[in-house]
């Protein structure tokens, strides 16, 4: 399961670029700092590879096993 801590996000877009399943996109809601942050479009397709978490400079994405379909 991918959990995005939206208030740590600075909208660099690295997670969106490197997601192998292309299921992350920058959303339309702003966080506390006024930045748009990524949202998952299709959680069923997530393979919990944690590449989004690997590339996040801020450590805003945490990945745990289970939850979504793995």
């Amino acid at each position: 399961m991918v959990q995005i801590n939206e208030n740590l996000c600075k909208n660099c877009g690295y997670c969106v670029k490197f997601c192998p399943k292309k299921i992350l996109e920058i959303g339309t809601v702003r966080n506390r700092r006024g930045q748009f942050y990524p949202v998952m479009t299709d959680e069923e397709k997530c393979i919990t590879c944690a590449i989004c978490a690997t590339m996040c400079p801020e450590g805003a994405i945490e990945v745990t096993e289970g939850g979504s379909k793995a």
Partner: protein, 245 residues
């Protein structure tokens, strides 16, 4: 299947770095490695001057902020008086390759038993994007407005190659942080360097190629492509010296 949990070594707040800065990723990698080694409470981060000084508000472990370029000298003293601690200097390229060149070469040559994490973004980020010793040929900065000209300013300095010619260092490696593979390699490299220090092997040096979206005047995603086409062909990633076995 993979898991990732944010380290407790970094603050529960956004870092001071600009959006998309791979410096923040470098800091995060160090914190992750310390967590994996279980050395968080035993570590000491020697923070230099530059963007790396933003770690003062972000790093939750023990740290020491030292004069410009003198992190290896301070780390030498700390490590000699506290040999059981995991000591690492976290430096940028303006700090390490310009004003601190003498300190880093001397510490490496003495084979002091600590680790240097060197974040190379080819510019002076904190002071507004002036030319650094590592700035690429033709790269525009505020002090080389027509691009760096080797006739007047010389060539970009390759620190890994320089340090690997010395006898004493046991591990010298360079990694690029602009791809998931590079980040994973870098994490393994940092872990190897820290483990070598814990085993008392000697001086270890890890260079991380990073970006500077603000001073390169690019979006974060553009900097990743720029690194692929310009930075990585000149600063070639790889392990330059490994005597840890």
């Amino acid at each position: 299947m993979a898991e990732y949990k944010r380290s407790s070594m970094i603050a529960e707040s956004p870092s001071g770095y600009c959006p998309g800065c791979l410096h923040a990723l470098a800091t995060r990698l160090v914190s992750d490695v310390l967590d994996e080694l279980g050395q968080g409470d035993n570590s000491l981060n020697v923070i230099s001057v530059g963007c790396s000084a933003l770690n003062l508000l972000y790093w939750c472990g023990d740290n020491l902020s030292v004069a410009h370029g003198r992190a290896p000298a301070a780390a030498t003293g700390i490590k000699r008086t506290n040999p059981e601690r995991l000591v690492f200097a976290y430096q940028g390229d303006g700090d390490l390759a310009a004003i601190g060149l003498s300190e880093i070469m001397s510490a490496a040559n003495r084979g002091e038993n600590f680790t240097v994490i060197f974040a190379n973004n080819q510019t002076y980020g904190m002071t507004g994007g002036q030319m650094a010793p590592t700035t690429l040929i033709g790269q525009k900065t505020t002090t080389t407005v027509y691009g760096r000209d080797p006739q007047t300013t010389g060539y970009p300095m390759k620190m890994c190659e320089l340090i690997s010619t010395l006898e004493a260092p046991v591990y010298v490696a360079r990694f690029a942080l602009n791809s998931p593979k590079g980040v994973r390699d870098a994490k393994a490299g940092i872990k190897k360097a820290f483990q070598a220090q814990l085993d008392g092997k000697g001086f270890t040096f890890v260079e991380l190629l990073t970006n500077c979206p603000t001073n390169w005047h690019m979006t974060p995603l553009q900097t990743l492509d720029y690194m692929n086409t310009n930075t990585i062909p000149y600063f070639k990633p790889g392990v330059y010296k490994d005597k840890t076995e």
